[in-house]
Subunit: 222 residues, 4 copies
């Protein structure tokens, strides 16, 4: 038993002594905190224009790239939070590796306000918007890839609840994939049509957030 | 069962496997985080004046619009948090649609620091204050409308606790309405008398926060 | 039953339907969030000096008023959080009035970063430091007064746990008083000797934080 | 019983009246909040460069010291959070002294964004980077020393769970030590080779975060 082992003790190993859910609780609380802060900090990126009445309205309206960036980032972080919620709800217990993967995901998510600012300041600025949109897309892609990795790792290591049907597991695995492909496509598109790519990022987040399945079932039932 | 269904799984569907309150817990924790951060970030909008002693006092006092904006925003977010607390306390379980409506509410609430800054910088600036006050009012109206929608949706979908009396439900529904009407009236008033509208926004928040009913009962009992 | 009554429903009234601790839990979570954010935002007030090597060290050291303000504010918010923790731990249930008082306390606490910045920028600036120190002291006094009010209200309304000894209640009431008197004395002193008053604010916070009783008992036992 | 005793009441003393875990819960919630905020605020230190397309890419790439500082600080706070999680998970109950030590640790951790900014702005600036790297290292050393102190205090005062094996306790004590020695070595190295010291700080954090023990066991099992 090496010195480094103690810090990576997992719930399975300590199960007799404590409830296995404890570690997950702390990870969830910390994650919720980081998600909540990252999503709320976005508003600090919005600068206040100054000027006389018409100028102020114009000034506020002319900042549409900032609002668009705010909207896309809020929706994207919200989508990752939703996916994270579903994954942790299916989790039975955590391992040390899972907690580290989660920390990596949190780093990528809490980095997003920076590309958001980059995007808000450079959309419409013709040339540099391509750079900003690409960096922004890479950040979203990384977040999405880490969420996917987190889930696949949890499934492979059998950390999910034993009573969860295999079909459910496969569905969620499938569900997390289109986002990844979508981001790759949008990053490529963004090299030619940056603003369209930003709208694509928004569409991906909305697709994850809006429960189309539930709406369709409701429409069918009506 | 489409791929998009998995992510919208609700507690009712999974009830046998886990306690139905879990999802609500995570939604509450995330909401509390966003409310707490949005309300605390407001202080960052206050700029520090510089100058010699009398100038500093003058400088601090001359910033009254910033303090007024801070006060109104703190009271308004506090009021929404209180209403949110009552709603979630009456909730028995959540659905995927409710969680998304809640996310929308959080976006509107966490946007408020921006109009607050707008207001703090442009009150007293004669012309542009009308624009700032209107944008500010629209934000408050939207937040209030979403709280109302959240509650009505929860009632219609029977997500509230079954043991809650019908009279209680009707009362809370009623209670959430005057705020909406008040904001519409204040936004209209703000086009002519902006500062008065801001005081009106404060009055609405105070009306929601201060438990007049409890005070009246106490006065009657004394 | 008026419309405004619904929102002020207290735990006692709803006790049969739900556990009485729920409302308190939500209030604690929100309070912890606001305290944690206010205390962590303080670091944003520290500006980075620029210059060559010796200049940088000089620049960093010359900012001692900012570090002092940071230290005093961190200790003061920490002290209020500690007192808040003790009060809520003694609480059996909450009422609507208590939750509103708590909201007022949170507003005063989350305002502190503003006077902190004021203090950090104006200490040593000879004249305006008197204004900054007084505003700062008033903020601390208000926070302390509201904590005291919260406790006295909880005691008078019998919201504390029935099994808590009378002696304990009186002790905590007493314990919360010297802070109030100390702040009044320091605000008066600050009109003549501002920097000394700031050290006095620090001393009050340290007095609340450091568990002298426990240390003394330990020394006696040794 | 002196007045100051009430505020330092410990769980052992109040055990019959309430569950002993309560105080620890509140301390953990507040700590998680501060850790989450400090780690998420780091992104605000990243400035957005402006310019035409190639300039923007260059500008973004030229800011590598900021990204490096962001990465090292995120990893370091993450490492402290992980160690904190393990310690509190082993805790059976808290004492007033432990809660104060924890508050001190939180102050040191939430101060880190300031040296991070210092580092990001002065790396590569030849002369002042030595000052920035040293201040940064001292902050990390202090955080590490306080985590170590927290653990040793908890062990000495028998606050940890009685069913925890002696070997486990010794291992965690050992595990927390190399970080301390590492920081001392890196601070000394930083006086001559600042950038190398920063990479050393990163290596220490990665060593704490990455579960080498688990990876090695897995490699052995494969």
């Amino acid at each position: 038993m090496t010195a480094s082992r103690i810090l990576v003790v997992t719930h399975e190993q300590r199960e007799p002594a404590r409830t296995p859910g404890l570690r997950t609780t702390r990870m969830e609380a910390f994650s919720d905190g980081v998600f909540a802060i990252a999503i709320t900090l976005l508003v600090l990126e919005l600068a206040v224009p100054s000027g006389s009445e018409d100028d102020l309205l114009d000034g506020v309206l002319n900042q549409w790239p900032s609002y668009l960036a705010y909207l896309v980032s809020f929706a994207s972080i919200g989508a990752v939070w939703l996916e994270h919620t579903v994954i942790t709800e299916f989790l039975d217990h955590a391992t040390s590796v899972l907690i580290r993967l989660n920390l990596l995901l949190l780093m990528v998510v809490s980095f997003l306000p920076f590309p958001t600012r980059l995007l808000g300041e450079h959309i419409g600025a013709d040339e540099p918007e391509r750079v900003a949109v690409t960096i922004y897309g890479l950040n979203l892609f990384l977040a999405s890839a880490l969420v996917s990795l987190l889930w696949r790792y949890a499934v492979r290591e059998k950390l999910i609840q034993p009573d969860l049907a295999d079909a459910d597991v496969k569905m969620l695995t499938k569900r997390l994939t289109p986002g990844l492909a979508g981001y790759v496509a949008m990053i490529a598109l963004g090299l030619f049509l940056p603003v369209l790519a930003v709208l694509g990022y928004l569409a991906i987040a909305v697709y994850i957030i809006v429960p189309f399945g539930a709406l369709r079932r409701r429409a069918a039932a009506a």
